[in-house]
């Protein structure tokens, strides 16, 4: 195996779970035994998945290295590669270049209360950090998850809601945009639900990811609630190709989102030229 960084590792799709009508979560296992055994990654990193005959696309690693042996990524059907992925059946072979990019500074989160604020498919990168924290539960304070989507049907990872709810000192706040019969939880947009919950910024860290408009209001509200820019983290979405800071595509100012990100603190974001 020469060291050409653009050649992916082969992996077999072990399990496909239908999250919503247009989103599936794929669990893949690396074919190369030796590579699989010493493969590790940190929460917040991402990968480039190749579907042979169609192309390569960027997906965050939604699984956590604390549950080894496999990697998971969630795919919303939208373009050529995602449509191709949705057509695959279990046992299919894909290419994976992982892990890429930086990760959440989970060391500095130790002992802090964590607020995960996710929107729709944006929950995928947060889930990696969330499960990582739950696997090292006592390192962290209370874990609060605010997760919203357009409708009940659009909520991902429903199978893990109970596990999250019943984890020690962990609260799960779900919300959907519009009233739906049979829905008992909150109704409303995530940013306004955040204002209702009034999280205490003391010794807290907020991690948010979701559609651009949601992020814009969440960041604004967090500042209003007293969170400082260093306490807020998010992952940025940019057009990516190489994923290793060479193809020059995902730059914001002098930084490359694929290597200097995708995780940025709000302070870092404010330092960047407004071109993202």
């Amino acid at each position: 195996m020469s060291n050409n960084p653009y050649v992916p590792q082969l992996a077999v799709i072990e399990k496909i779970t239908e999250e919503t009508w247009d989103t599936k979560t794929f669990r893949a296992v690396f074919v190369d035994e030796e590579f699989r055994n010493n493969f590790t990654y940190k929460p917040g990193q991402f990968q480039e998945v190749s579907v042979f005959g169609t192309g390569e696309a960027t997906f965050c690693l939604t699984s956590t290295a604390t549950r080894p042996g496999y990697i998971e990524f969630s795919v919303k059907r939208f373009g050529c590669v995602t449509k191709a992925l949705h057509g695959l059946s279990e046992g299919a072979t894909v290419g994976v270049r992982a892990p890429l990019g930086n990760c959440f500074p989970y060391e500095s989160f130790k002992g802090k209360d964590l607020w995960f604020i996710g929107g729709g498919i944006g929950m995928a990168p947060l889930r990696s950090l969330l499960n990582f924290c739950l696997d090292n539960r006592d390192d962290y304070g209370t874990v609060n998850i605010i997760y919203g989507a357009r409708s009940a049907g659009d909520l991902c990872f429903k199978s893990e809601f109970d596990e999250w709810k019943n984890s020690p000192n962990t609260n799960l706040y779900l919300t959907i945009d519009r009233e739906e019969e049979g829905w008992t939880e909150n109704v409303g947009f995530v940013p306004s639900y955040l204002m209702d919950l009034k999280p205490n910024p003391e010794g807290a860290i907020a991690i948010t990811c979701g559609p651009p408009i949601m992020i814009k209001f969440v960041l604004k509200n967090l500042n209003e609630l007293g969170f400082t820019d260093e306490q807020i983290y998010t992952t940025l979405e940019m057009r990516m190709k190489c994923g290793i800071g060479k193809c020059g595509r995902c730059n914001i100012g002098q930084y490359y989102v694929c290597t200097d990100g995708p995780v940025f603190s709000n302070a870092q974001l404010k330092g960047l030229p407004l071109e993202y």
């Binding site: 579907v51 005959g53 449509k83 057509g87 695959l88 059946s89």
Partner: protein, 659 residues
């Protein structure tokens, strides 16, 4: 990638005898995107279609490829089948491995290789197919029937009975068509007028039927459900509301000309009614011959008319109406036997056509029903009937058989005996074609009971000797030439399309065959429809046939129209063009070249309402899905659903990269 199911059909042995269907199914299984591949003896059969439905459920297939016969035949069948299994009917592609492969290539290996390629192309295309749905188009629940013969009348009556409005357009002054010229009809010897006139009167009195006689269709535009038809109502010079049909005018009219209705044997006046039972029973002034129009004197009819219905100042009136469906029942014309120099038609007066003979028999004919020879008005004794004049003859006439001549020859031979007891009928024939109900028995009767002499052979020459016609022919059964001194010879002239049939076809946007008969959609499976949706055929305009078939086809066409009108509105073609408004540069080249002017400019405005840019937009109702605009669009902004660039290119690539 989609999850594709591939089904290879044996078509009994039609495909399996040349194409190794197992090998094709195997090769298909290895194609990218194929989740399931099998083969079966009769895919289009009930079990075949069930096989598809089960596979869809079991393997969660998203698209289907059926490799069998031509999509033109069974694409609708399989579309219905997969939609019953819950898939969108357009997630289907067919690979034509019968007409384009097994039937046309002997080399089995090459045919199998080609079948594999065709399947690979179909799989590559279906993987890119998207679910399509059609749109509702309003239908004008009014039908137009062109041609007022027996077929036209029957069609109009059936449609009217179903409660829909019909406009029946007839070129001549009265409906009735060819059948009105006949005396009796085979095989029942019903009097033609007795069974036709009541229908004509029904048509005239039916509130849903509007008869436009002495009128012609000038232009047809639009499409199924929304035809705009321009009709020219020619000036009759008689006010129909006032005329009582008393006939005083054509009694007194001084000008006599040869009557088309009597095929030139009889005469009619300048102001005339084609035949007594005419419907509408309102005369018409033939402006070419009428003394008033030609020389500016006379006006006898105006003076004599008790109700003052004559109106010389009447002008042609051109109207345009909306129709949902059109039925062409324009009938036929008889072939001119003058082509045969050796039979002396047109030289010897007593050599006439069967239609003229029918007029001589008819009570309202030129001789008031008495059978008299045109030359000397004497009853003929020996009458020779000659079949296949212009039919079954590649040299001078048409190669096809006109189907009904054998029957009316027998009828004439039979009736001749009734009318002139001591007359003797001779019938020259090649083969007797009497395959209708009661037909063979009828001909037997003419031979045995009425003593008609049937001579199997051709007539080589007719010579006028004095007042006799020497008919020289052969009796191939007796194996010797035969010569008959006849008093009259009747030629069974072939049926041929109307002289303006090609023109009418072009107006209706339908195609014709090499003789100019209108081409039906499918000779066996869709005989009353044509390829253009919304247009149907009835009667002989499609191909020579007798009255029972014409009436049956008329009811068939009517049922198609009623079927079309019974739906609240029409499902538009799902495979129509659509414009990607972000990439469209608004050059509107597509608008220029759209054959159906289905594309209009559309101004896009931003939320605040000020204009952003003009783009093209397709009226899905008018679009027929031809794709001319798509090939013309430089930025590929307009795409044809079902035949998009990426779909067609996928086929090209799939084929290019087959090993």
């Amino acid at each position: 990638m989609a999850r594709v199911g591939v089904f290879i059909c044996w078509c009994g042995s039609n495909i399996a005898k040349t194409v190794d269907v197992e090998k094709v199914a195997e090769a298909a299984a290895a194609l990218p995107g194929v989740a399931y591949s099998t083969n079966y003896k009769y895919m289009c059969s009930e079990p075949g279609q069930n096989l598809v439905k089960q596979a869809i459920a079991e393997h969660k297939l998203s698209s289907i490829v059926v490799a069998s016969c031509s999509p033109r035949l069974h694409e609708p069948t399989f579309r219905r089948c997969i939609s019953e299994a819950g898939l969108n009917p357009f997630m289907l592609e067919m690979a034509n491995i019968r007409e384009h492969c097994s039937w046309v290539h002997d080399d089995n290996d090459a045919a199998t290789k080609k079948a594999i390629d065709l399947v690979a192309m179909a799989v590559a295309k279906v993987a890119k197919n998207e679910p399509l749905s059609s749109q509702a188009i309003p239908i004008t629940k009014k039908a137009l029937v062109i041609g007022g013969g027996v077929s036209g009348i029957q069609t109009a009556l059936d449609i009217a009975d179903a409660g829909y409005k019909v406009t029946l357009v007839e070129r001549t002054p009265s409906i009735g068509g060819r059948m009105a010229q006949y005396d009796k009809t085979f095989p029942t010897l019903d009097c033609a007028a007795c069974i036709l006139t009541p229908k004509m009167v029904d048509a005239a009195s039916n509130p849903n039927i509007e008869i436009l006689s002495y009128s012609e269709v000038e232009n047809v535009s639009g499409f199924v459900g929304n035809f705009d038809v321009t009709i020219r109502k020619r000036a009759r010079s008689v006010d129909m509301s006032k005329c009582t049909g008393c006939g005083a005018c054509y009694e007194k009219c001084p000008k006599k000309v040869s009557s088309e209705f009597d095929c030139g044997l009889g005469q009619r006046k300048a102001i005339y009614v084609p035949f007594p039972q005419a419907v509408p029973n309102v005369p018409v002034i033939d402006r070419e011959v009428c003394r008033w129009f030609a020389e500016g004197k006379c006006k006898v009819c105006e003076k004599i008319c008790p109700t003052g219905a004559i109106d010389y100042s009447q002008e042609d009136e051109v109207i345009t109406e909306q129709f949902g469906a059109i039925v062409a029942a324009t009938g036929f014309d008889t072939w001119d036997p003058q082509e045969y120099g050796n039979l002396g038609y047109g030289k010897y007066p007593d050599v006439i056509t069967s239609l003229q003979f029918e007029r001589l028999f008819n009570a309202s004919g030129p001789t008031d029903g008495k059978l008299l020879r045109p030359s000397d008005n004497q009853p003929p004794k020996n009458v020779v009937f000659i079949s296949c004049i212009g039919s079954r003859d590649d040299e001078h006439g048409y190669p096809y058989c006109s189907k009904v001549c054998c029957m009316y020859n027998a009828k004439h031979a039979l009736l001749l005996k009734e009318k002139v007891s001591d007359a003797q009928a001779y019938v020259f024939y090649m083969d007797i074609r009497a395959n209708g109900k009661g037909y063979e028995e009828f001909v037997r009767r003419a031979m045995e009971k009425y003593g008609a002499v049937y001579l199997r052979g051709r007539v080589s020459r007719i010579i006028q000797e004095g007042d006799k016609l020497i008919v020289r022919g052969a009796d191939t059964l007796a194996g010797k030439p035969v010569e008959i001194e006849a008093d009259m010879v009747v030629l069974a002239a072939a049926m041929k399309p109307q002289p303006d049939a090609k023109e009418m076809a072009r107006k209706l946007g339908i195609s014709t065959d090499e003789y100019n008969w209108f081409s039906e959609a499918h000779p066996k499976l869709r005989p009353v429809e044509v390829l253009t949706a919304g247009v149907y055929l009835a009667g002989v305009c499609q191909y020579p046939k007798d009255i029972p078939d014409s009436v049956a086809q008329a009811s068939g066409a009517a049922s198609k129209v009623i079927g079309l009108f019974s739906k609240p509105n029409l499902e538009s073609e799902p495979t129509v063009a659509e414009v990607n408004e972000t990439t469209c540069a608004g050059c509107l080249l597509c608008k220029e070249i759209c054959p159906f002017s289905a594309i209009e400019p559309k101004l896009l405005t931003d939320r605040a309402g000020n204009p952003v840019k003009t783009v093209a937009s397709v009226n899905q109702g008018l679009c027929h899905g031809c794709g001319t605009c798509v090939a013309g669009c430089r930025s590929a902004s307009v795409q044809l659903k079902g035949f998009k660039d990426d779909q067609l290119l996928a086929e090209v690539d799939a084929l290019a990269f087959m090993e």
